[in-house]
Protein backbone atom coordinates (compact mmCIF):
# COMPACT_ATOMS: atom_id res chain seq x y z
CA UNK A 1 0.00 0.00 0.00
CA UNK A 2 1.00 3.59 0.32
CA UNK A 3 4.28 4.84 1.66
CA UNK A 4 4.05 6.87 4.86
CA UNK A 5 3.95 10.51 3.85
CA UNK A 6 3.53 13.83 5.58
CA UNK A 7 1.77 15.99 3.06
CA UNK A 8 0.73 19.61 3.42
CA UNK A 9 2.61 21.94 5.71
CA UNK A 10 4.68 19.15 7.24
CA UNK A 11 6.45 18.47 3.98
CA UNK A 12 10.01 19.72 3.89
CA UNK A 13 9.76 21.05 7.41
CA UNK A 14 12.02 19.21 9.84
CA UNK A 15 10.48 17.71 12.96
CA UNK A 16 12.45 19.91 15.34
CA UNK A 17 10.86 23.04 13.87
CA UNK A 18 7.47 21.67 14.90
CA UNK A 19 8.61 21.09 18.49
CA UNK A 20 10.16 24.57 18.67
CA UNK A 21 7.03 26.08 17.12
CA UNK A 22 4.74 24.40 19.65
CA UNK A 23 6.88 25.60 22.58
CA UNK A 24 7.07 29.14 21.17
CA UNK A 25 3.31 29.22 20.66
CA UNK A 26 2.79 28.11 24.28
CA UNK A 27 5.04 30.88 25.61
CA UNK A 28 3.34 33.51 23.45
CA UNK A 29 -0.03 32.22 24.60
CA UNK A 30 0.95 32.56 28.24
CA UNK A 31 2.23 36.12 27.82
CA UNK A 32 -0.83 37.38 25.94
CA UNK A 33 -3.23 35.63 28.31
CA UNK A 34 -1.82 37.52 31.28
CA UNK A 35 -2.48 40.86 29.58
CA UNK A 36 -6.15 40.36 28.77
CA UNK A 37 -7.62 42.43 31.61
CA UNK A 38 -5.58 45.59 30.92
CA UNK A 39 -6.29 45.11 27.24
CA UNK A 40 -10.05 44.93 27.71
CA UNK A 41 -10.07 47.88 30.11
CA UNK A 42 -8.08 49.91 27.60
CA UNK A 43 -10.52 49.03 24.83
CA UNK A 44 -13.53 50.10 26.90
CA UNK A 45 -11.79 53.33 27.92
CA UNK A 46 -11.40 54.22 24.25
CA UNK A 47 -15.16 53.97 23.74
CA UNK A 48 -17.54 56.84 24.46
CA UNK A 49 -19.27 55.06 27.36
CA UNK A 50 -19.12 55.44 31.12
CA UNK A 51 -17.10 52.51 32.53
CA UNK A 52 -19.50 51.86 35.40
CA UNK A 53 -22.70 52.26 33.44
CA UNK A 54 -24.73 49.21 32.35
CA UNK A 55 -23.30 49.49 28.87
CA UNK A 56 -19.76 49.88 30.19
CA UNK A 57 -20.08 46.80 32.38
CA UNK A 58 -21.52 44.76 29.55
CA UNK A 59 -18.79 45.87 27.13
CA UNK A 60 -15.96 45.18 29.57
CA UNK A 61 -17.38 41.70 30.16
CA UNK A 62 -17.59 41.12 26.42
CA UNK A 63 -14.11 42.38 25.53
CA UNK A 64 -12.48 40.40 28.30
CA UNK A 65 -14.39 37.17 27.86
CA UNK A 66 -14.26 36.79 24.10
CA UNK A 67 -10.45 36.66 23.78
CA UNK A 68 -10.16 34.70 27.03
CA UNK A 69 -12.57 32.01 25.89
CA UNK A 70 -11.03 31.85 22.42
CA UNK A 71 -7.52 31.46 23.82
CA UNK A 72 -8.45 28.82 26.39
CA UNK A 73 -10.34 26.94 23.74
CA UNK A 74 -7.42 26.99 21.31
CA UNK A 75 -5.01 25.63 23.90
CA UNK A 76 -7.19 22.86 25.26
CA UNK A 77 -8.72 21.75 21.99
CA UNK A 78 -5.22 21.44 20.59
CA UNK A 79 -4.06 19.42 23.59
CA UNK A 80 -7.11 17.18 23.46
CA UNK A 81 -6.66 16.74 19.71
CA UNK A 82 -3.18 15.39 20.41
CA UNK A 83 -4.40 13.17 23.27
CA UNK A 84 -7.32 11.84 21.21
CA UNK A 85 -5.00 10.75 18.44
CA UNK A 86 -4.01 7.94 20.81
CA UNK A 87 -7.60 6.72 20.94
CA UNK A 88 -10.03 5.60 18.25
CA UNK A 89 -13.57 4.22 18.26
CA UNK A 90 -12.17 0.89 17.06
CA UNK A 91 -9.73 0.58 19.97
CA UNK A 92 -12.38 1.67 22.43
CA UNK A 93 -14.78 -0.91 21.11
CA UNK A 94 -12.17 -3.62 21.44
CA UNK A 95 -11.59 -2.57 25.06
CA UNK A 96 -15.30 -2.57 25.86
CA UNK A 97 -16.58 -5.61 24.02
CA UNK A 98 -17.71 -8.35 26.36
CA UNK A 99 -17.08 -6.17 29.42
CA UNK A 100 -19.48 -6.78 32.25
CA UNK A 101 -21.81 -4.10 33.45
CA UNK A 102 -20.48 -2.06 36.30
CA UNK A 103 -16.80 -2.03 35.40
CA UNK A 104 -17.85 -1.69 31.77
CA UNK A 105 -19.96 1.38 32.50
CA UNK A 106 -17.13 3.10 34.34
CA UNK A 107 -14.61 2.37 31.58
CA UNK A 108 -17.10 3.33 28.93
CA UNK A 109 -17.85 6.74 30.43
CA UNK A 110 -14.13 7.47 30.78
CA UNK A 111 -13.39 6.38 27.23
CA UNK A 112 -16.35 8.46 26.06
CA UNK A 113 -14.43 11.53 27.14
CA UNK A 114 -11.17 10.50 25.44
CA UNK A 115 -12.35 8.91 22.20
CA UNK A 116 -12.91 11.23 19.24
CA UNK A 117 -16.63 11.45 18.74
CA UNK A 118 -18.96 13.47 16.56
CA UNK A 119 -22.69 13.27 17.07
CA UNK A 120 -23.12 12.82 13.32
CA UNK A 121 -21.60 9.36 13.62
CA UNK A 122 -23.60 8.41 16.71
CA UNK A 123 -25.62 5.83 14.76
CA UNK A 124 -22.77 3.92 13.09
CA UNK A 125 -20.89 4.02 16.38
CA UNK A 126 -23.87 2.70 18.30
CA UNK A 127 -24.28 -0.19 15.87
CA UNK A 128 -20.57 -0.85 15.80
CA UNK A 129 -20.52 -1.17 19.59
CA UNK A 130 -23.66 -3.24 19.98
CA UNK A 131 -22.81 -5.61 17.14
CA UNK A 132 -19.40 -6.29 18.63
CA UNK A 133 -20.90 -7.43 21.90
CA UNK A 134 -20.63 -4.24 23.94
CA UNK A 135 -23.65 -4.44 26.29
CA UNK A 136 -26.43 -1.93 25.61
CA UNK A 137 -26.06 -0.18 28.97
CA UNK A 138 -22.29 0.16 28.51
CA UNK A 139 -22.87 1.64 25.05
CA UNK A 140 -25.24 4.16 26.58
CA UNK A 141 -22.67 5.19 29.18
CA UNK A 142 -20.40 6.06 26.26
CA UNK A 143 -23.08 7.93 24.36
CA UNK A 144 -24.04 9.99 27.41
CA UNK A 145 -20.50 10.84 28.52
CA UNK A 146 -19.10 11.65 25.07
CA UNK A 147 -21.09 14.83 24.41
CA UNK A 148 -21.68 15.86 28.03
CA UNK A 149 -18.21 15.70 29.52
CA UNK A 150 -16.18 17.30 26.81
CA UNK A 151 -13.08 19.43 26.97
CA UNK A 152 -14.85 22.50 25.67
CA UNK A 153 -17.32 22.43 28.56
CA UNK A 154 -14.63 21.78 31.17
CA UNK A 155 -12.22 24.39 29.92
CA UNK A 156 -14.82 27.07 29.73
CA UNK A 157 -16.02 26.24 33.23
CA UNK A 158 -12.47 26.48 34.56
CA UNK A 159 -11.86 29.75 32.74
CA UNK A 160 -15.13 31.50 33.38
CA UNK A 161 -16.53 30.06 36.59
CA UNK A 162 -13.71 28.37 38.48
CA UNK A 163 -12.06 24.99 38.77
CA UNK A 164 -14.27 23.85 41.65
CA UNK A 165 -17.38 24.07 39.50
CA UNK A 166 -15.53 22.40 36.61
CA UNK A 167 -14.42 19.51 38.83
CA UNK A 168 -17.96 19.14 40.13
CA UNK A 169 -19.29 19.06 36.62
CA UNK A 170 -16.73 16.42 35.61
CA UNK A 171 -17.46 14.15 38.57
CA UNK A 172 -21.24 14.40 38.34
CA UNK A 173 -21.28 14.25 34.54
CA UNK A 174 -19.31 10.99 34.61
CA UNK A 175 -21.47 9.79 37.49
CA UNK A 176 -24.67 10.32 35.54
CA UNK A 177 -23.23 8.58 32.47
CA UNK A 178 -22.13 5.59 34.54
CA UNK A 179 -25.31 5.24 36.60
CA UNK A 180 -27.75 5.96 33.77
CA UNK A 181 -25.99 3.41 31.53
CA UNK A 182 -26.01 0.89 34.36
CA UNK A 183 -29.74 1.40 34.97
CA UNK A 184 -30.57 1.12 31.28
CA UNK A 185 -28.50 -2.08 31.14
CA UNK A 186 -30.36 -3.56 34.12
CA UNK A 187 -33.71 -2.91 32.43
CA UNK A 188 -32.82 -5.40 29.65
CA UNK A 189 -34.20 -3.30 26.84
CA UNK A 190 -32.40 -5.03 23.95
CA UNK A 191 -35.84 -5.87 22.55
CA UNK A 192 -36.59 -2.17 22.16
CA UNK A 193 -33.94 -1.59 19.54
CA UNK A 194 -35.19 -1.18 15.98
CA UNK A 195 -35.60 -4.59 14.35
CA UNK A 196 -32.81 -4.21 11.84
CA UNK A 197 -30.32 -3.32 14.56
CA UNK A 198 -31.19 -6.49 16.42
CA UNK A 199 -30.53 -8.54 13.30
CA UNK A 200 -27.02 -7.16 13.03
CA UNK A 201 -26.66 -7.70 16.74
CA UNK A 202 -27.67 -11.35 16.44
CA UNK A 203 -25.30 -11.87 13.54
CA UNK A 204 -22.52 -10.12 15.45
CA UNK A 205 -20.50 -9.82 12.29
CA UNK A 206 -16.88 -9.28 13.07
CA UNK A 207 -16.10 -6.05 11.31
CA UNK A 208 -12.60 -5.38 10.12
CA UNK A 209 -11.29 -2.04 11.20
CA UNK A 210 -8.95 -0.27 8.84
CA UNK A 211 -5.38 -1.01 9.78
CA UNK A 212 -4.09 0.97 12.67
CA UNK A 213 -1.54 3.48 11.54
CA UNK A 214 1.56 4.48 13.40
CA UNK A 215 1.51 8.20 13.97
CA UNK A 216 4.49 10.39 14.61
CA UNK A 217 4.38 13.19 17.17
CA UNK A 218 4.37 15.77 14.38
CA UNK A 219 1.40 14.04 12.84
CA UNK A 220 -0.37 14.25 16.20
CA UNK A 221 0.35 18.00 16.37
CA UNK A 222 -1.30 18.34 13.01
CA UNK A 223 -4.34 16.42 14.26
CA UNK A 224 -4.46 18.84 17.18
CA UNK A 225 -4.41 21.79 14.78
CA UNK A 226 -7.14 20.17 12.70
CA UNK A 227 -9.25 19.85 15.84
CA UNK A 228 -8.75 23.55 16.63
CA UNK A 229 -9.74 24.54 13.11
CA UNK A 230 -12.80 22.34 13.19
CA UNK A 231 -14.04 23.39 16.62
CA UNK A 232 -13.60 27.05 15.77
CA UNK A 233 -15.40 26.65 12.48
CA UNK A 234 -18.29 25.13 14.37
CA UNK A 235 -18.50 27.18 17.53
CA UNK A 236 -17.22 30.73 17.03
CA UNK A 237 -20.68 32.12 16.38
CA UNK A 238 -22.09 30.30 19.40
CA UNK A 239 -19.35 31.69 21.59
CA UNK A 240 -20.02 35.24 20.47
CA UNK A 241 -23.76 34.79 20.97
CA UNK A 242 -23.28 33.13 24.34
CA UNK A 243 -20.89 35.76 25.65
CA UNK A 244 -23.08 38.52 24.21
CA UNK A 245 -26.01 37.07 26.10
CA UNK A 246 -23.86 36.76 29.21
CA UNK A 247 -22.77 40.39 28.85
CA UNK A 248 -26.38 41.56 28.62
CA UNK A 249 -27.33 39.64 31.75
CA UNK A 250 -24.19 40.91 33.44
CA UNK A 251 -24.97 44.52 32.60
CA UNK A 252 -28.73 44.72 32.72
CA UNK A 253 -30.60 41.94 34.50
CA UNK A 254 -31.41 42.99 38.07
CA UNK A 255 -30.00 40.65 40.65
CA UNK A 256 -33.11 40.14 42.77
CA UNK A 257 -35.11 38.98 39.77
CA UNK A 258 -32.59 36.28 38.94
CA UNK A 259 -32.34 35.12 42.52
CA UNK A 260 -36.11 34.83 42.70
CA UNK A 261 -36.32 32.77 39.50
CA UNK A 262 -33.20 30.65 39.77
CA UNK A 263 -32.23 30.81 43.42
CA UNK A 264 -32.07 27.72 45.61
CA UNK A 265 -35.32 28.47 47.41
CA UNK A 266 -37.63 27.84 44.51
CA UNK A 267 -38.24 24.08 44.59
CA UNK A 268 -39.48 24.04 41.00
CA UNK A 269 -36.42 25.75 39.57
CA UNK A 270 -34.36 22.58 39.00
CA UNK A 271 -37.09 20.60 37.18
CA UNK A 272 -37.88 23.71 35.15
CA UNK A 273 -34.20 24.08 34.23
CA UNK A 274 -34.00 20.44 33.07
CA UNK A 275 -37.19 20.63 31.01
CA UNK A 276 -36.17 23.95 29.45
CA UNK A 277 -32.80 22.50 28.54
CA UNK A 278 -34.05 19.50 26.53
CA UNK A 279 -35.36 21.27 23.42
CA UNK A 280 -32.58 23.86 23.60
CA UNK A 281 -29.63 22.93 21.54
CA UNK A 282 -26.32 24.62 21.68
CA UNK A 283 -22.92 23.20 22.37
CA UNK A 284 -20.94 23.68 25.55
CA UNK A 285 -19.27 26.82 24.22
CA UNK A 286 -22.57 28.58 23.69
CA UNK A 287 -24.12 27.72 27.03
CA UNK A 288 -21.25 28.38 29.40
CA UNK A 289 -21.04 32.15 29.14
CA UNK A 290 -24.73 32.19 30.06
CA UNK A 291 -23.92 29.93 32.98
CA UNK A 292 -21.22 32.29 34.17
CA UNK A 293 -23.49 35.29 34.03
CA UNK A 294 -26.35 33.46 35.78
CA UNK A 295 -24.05 32.35 38.59
CA UNK A 296 -22.64 35.85 38.91
CA UNK A 297 -26.15 37.13 39.44
CA UNK A 298 -26.94 34.75 42.24
CA UNK A 299 -28.59 31.82 40.48
CA UNK A 300 -28.14 28.59 42.49
CA UNK A 301 -25.28 26.35 41.36
CA UNK A 302 -27.37 23.17 41.22
CA UNK A 303 -29.99 24.81 39.07
CA UNK A 304 -27.44 26.20 36.66
CA UNK A 305 -25.53 22.89 36.42
CA UNK A 306 -28.78 21.02 35.76
CA UNK A 307 -29.69 23.47 33.04
CA UNK A 308 -26.30 23.15 31.43
CA UNK A 309 -26.19 19.36 31.54
CA UNK A 310 -29.69 19.15 30.14
CA UNK A 311 -28.88 21.49 27.25
CA UNK A 312 -25.71 19.59 26.33
CA UNK A 313 -26.61 15.96 27.07
CA UNK A 314 -30.23 15.82 26.00
CA UNK A 315 -30.72 17.43 22.64
CA UNK A 316 -33.50 17.07 20.16
CA UNK A 317 -31.25 16.68 17.09
CA UNK A 318 -29.39 13.81 18.75
CA UNK A 319 -32.69 12.10 19.60
CA UNK A 320 -33.76 12.38 15.98
CA UNK A 321 -30.50 10.78 14.86
CA UNK A 322 -30.81 8.00 17.44
CA UNK A 323 -34.43 7.39 16.40
CA UNK A 324 -32.97 5.42 13.48
CA UNK A 325 -31.68 2.74 15.82
CA UNK A 326 -33.83 3.06 18.93
CA UNK A 327 -37.58 2.73 19.29
CA UNK A 328 -39.47 5.68 20.74
CA UNK A 329 -39.96 3.74 23.96
CA UNK A 330 -36.22 3.30 24.36
CA UNK A 331 -35.62 6.98 23.63
CA UNK A 332 -38.21 7.85 26.28
CA UNK A 333 -36.39 5.66 28.79
CA UNK A 334 -33.10 7.27 27.81
CA UNK A 335 -34.47 10.79 28.34
CA UNK A 336 -36.19 9.70 31.54
CA UNK A 337 -33.12 8.10 33.12
CA UNK A 338 -30.64 10.80 32.10
CA UNK A 339 -33.07 13.62 32.89
CA UNK A 340 -33.79 12.02 36.27
CA UNK A 341 -30.07 11.83 37.02
CA UNK A 342 -29.55 15.47 36.13
CA UNK A 343 -32.53 16.47 38.24
CA UNK A 344 -31.12 14.59 41.21
CA UNK A 345 -27.71 16.22 40.83
CA UNK A 346 -29.30 19.67 40.66
CA UNK A 347 -31.50 19.16 43.72
CA UNK A 348 -28.70 17.54 45.74
CA UNK A 349 -26.39 20.39 44.94
CA UNK A 350 -28.82 23.04 46.00
CA UNK A 351 -29.39 21.18 49.26
CA UNK A 352 -25.70 20.61 50.03
CA UNK A 353 -24.17 23.95 49.06
Amino acid sequence: MSVETHPGPAQGRPDWSWHVGVVAALVAWWMIYGQLIPLSEWLVSRLPVERHSHTGEALAFFFYDVPKVMMLLTLIVFAMGVVRSFFSPEKTRALLSGKREGVGNVMSAGLGVLTPFCSCSAVPLFIGFVSAGVPLGVTFSFLIAAPMVNEVALVLLVGLVGWQVAATYLVFGLGIAIVAGFVIGKLNLEGWLQDWVREIHAGASAIDAPEDEKLTLVHRYRLGLDAVREIFGKVWLWILLGIGMGALIHGYVPEELMVRIMGADAWWSVPAAVVLGIPMYTNAAGVIPIVEALLGKGAALGTVLAFMMSVIALSLPEMIILRQVLTLRLIAVFIGVVGGGILLVGVLFNLLF
Binding site: P7, P89, C118, C120, S121, V123, P124, L125, I127, A209
Partner: protein, 78 residues
Protein backbone atom coordinates in the same frame (compact mmCIF):
# COMPACT_ATOMS: atom_id res chain seq x y z
CA UNK B 1 -11.82 1.51 -13.02
CA UNK B 2 -11.95 1.63 -9.26
CA UNK B 3 -15.13 1.71 -7.28
CA UNK B 4 -14.87 4.12 -4.37
CA UNK B 5 -17.49 4.45 -1.68
CA UNK B 6 -17.66 7.38 0.69
CA UNK B 7 -19.62 6.60 3.86
CA UNK B 8 -21.29 9.39 5.79
CA UNK B 9 -24.72 10.61 6.80
CA UNK B 10 -24.30 13.83 4.84
CA UNK B 11 -22.34 15.96 7.26
CA UNK B 12 -20.04 18.64 5.94
CA UNK B 13 -16.89 16.60 6.34
CA UNK B 14 -18.42 13.75 4.35
CA UNK B 15 -19.18 16.09 1.45
CA UNK B 16 -15.65 17.45 1.60
CA UNK B 17 -14.24 13.93 1.58
CA UNK B 18 -16.23 13.00 -1.54
CA UNK B 19 -15.01 16.15 -3.24
CA UNK B 20 -11.41 15.37 -2.29
CA UNK B 21 -11.73 11.90 -3.83
CA UNK B 22 -13.06 13.41 -7.06
CA UNK B 23 -10.37 16.08 -7.19
CA UNK B 24 -7.44 13.77 -6.46
CA UNK B 25 -8.69 11.19 -8.94
CA UNK B 26 -8.94 13.88 -11.62
CA UNK B 27 -5.48 15.20 -10.75
CA UNK B 28 -3.98 11.71 -10.98
CA UNK B 29 -5.91 10.86 -14.13
CA UNK B 30 -7.41 7.80 -12.45
CA UNK B 31 -10.81 6.67 -13.59
CA UNK B 32 -13.01 6.11 -10.59
CA UNK B 33 -16.62 5.67 -9.77
CA UNK B 34 -17.55 7.44 -6.55
CA UNK B 35 -20.65 6.49 -4.65
CA UNK B 36 -21.88 8.26 -1.54
CA UNK B 37 -23.42 5.96 1.05
CA UNK B 38 -25.72 7.84 3.41
CA UNK B 39 -27.91 5.11 4.85
CA UNK B 40 -26.83 4.59 8.47
CA UNK B 41 -27.55 0.91 8.18
CA UNK B 42 -25.24 0.44 5.22
CA UNK B 43 -22.62 2.62 6.86
CA UNK B 44 -22.69 0.42 9.95
CA UNK B 45 -22.70 -2.80 7.92
CA UNK B 46 -19.55 -1.66 6.14
CA UNK B 47 -17.84 -1.47 9.52
CA UNK B 48 -17.53 2.31 9.63
CA UNK B 49 -17.88 3.58 13.20
CA UNK B 50 -16.77 7.14 12.71
CA UNK B 51 -17.59 8.97 9.54
CA UNK B 52 -16.54 9.81 6.90
CA UNK B 53 -15.29 6.41 5.82
CA UNK B 54 -13.80 5.38 2.47
CA UNK B 55 -13.67 2.01 0.79
CA UNK B 56 -11.83 1.11 -2.40
CA UNK B 57 -13.14 -1.86 -4.38
CA UNK B 58 -14.98 -3.10 -1.33
CA UNK B 59 -12.07 -2.78 1.09
CA UNK B 60 -12.41 -0.28 3.90
CA UNK B 61 -9.31 1.91 4.00
CA UNK B 62 -10.31 4.86 6.13
CA UNK B 63 -12.72 5.85 8.90
CA UNK B 64 -13.08 9.04 10.88
CA UNK B 65 -12.07 12.53 9.84
CA UNK B 66 -10.83 13.91 6.58
CA UNK B 67 -8.40 11.62 4.80
CA UNK B 68 -4.80 12.55 4.36
CA UNK B 69 -4.21 13.69 0.78
CA UNK B 70 -1.02 11.66 0.40
CA UNK B 71 -2.76 8.51 1.59
CA UNK B 72 -5.74 9.20 -0.62
CA UNK B 73 -3.42 9.28 -3.63
CA UNK B 74 -1.99 5.97 -2.49
CA UNK B 75 -5.43 4.33 -2.34
CA UNK B 76 -6.46 5.76 -5.70
CA UNK B 77 -3.32 4.52 -7.42
CA UNK B 78 -3.37 1.31 -5.35
Amino acid sequence: MKSIKVYGPGCKRCETTAEMVHNRAAALGEEVEVEKVTDPREIAMAGVMSTPGISVDGKLVHAGGLPDEGKLDGWLKG
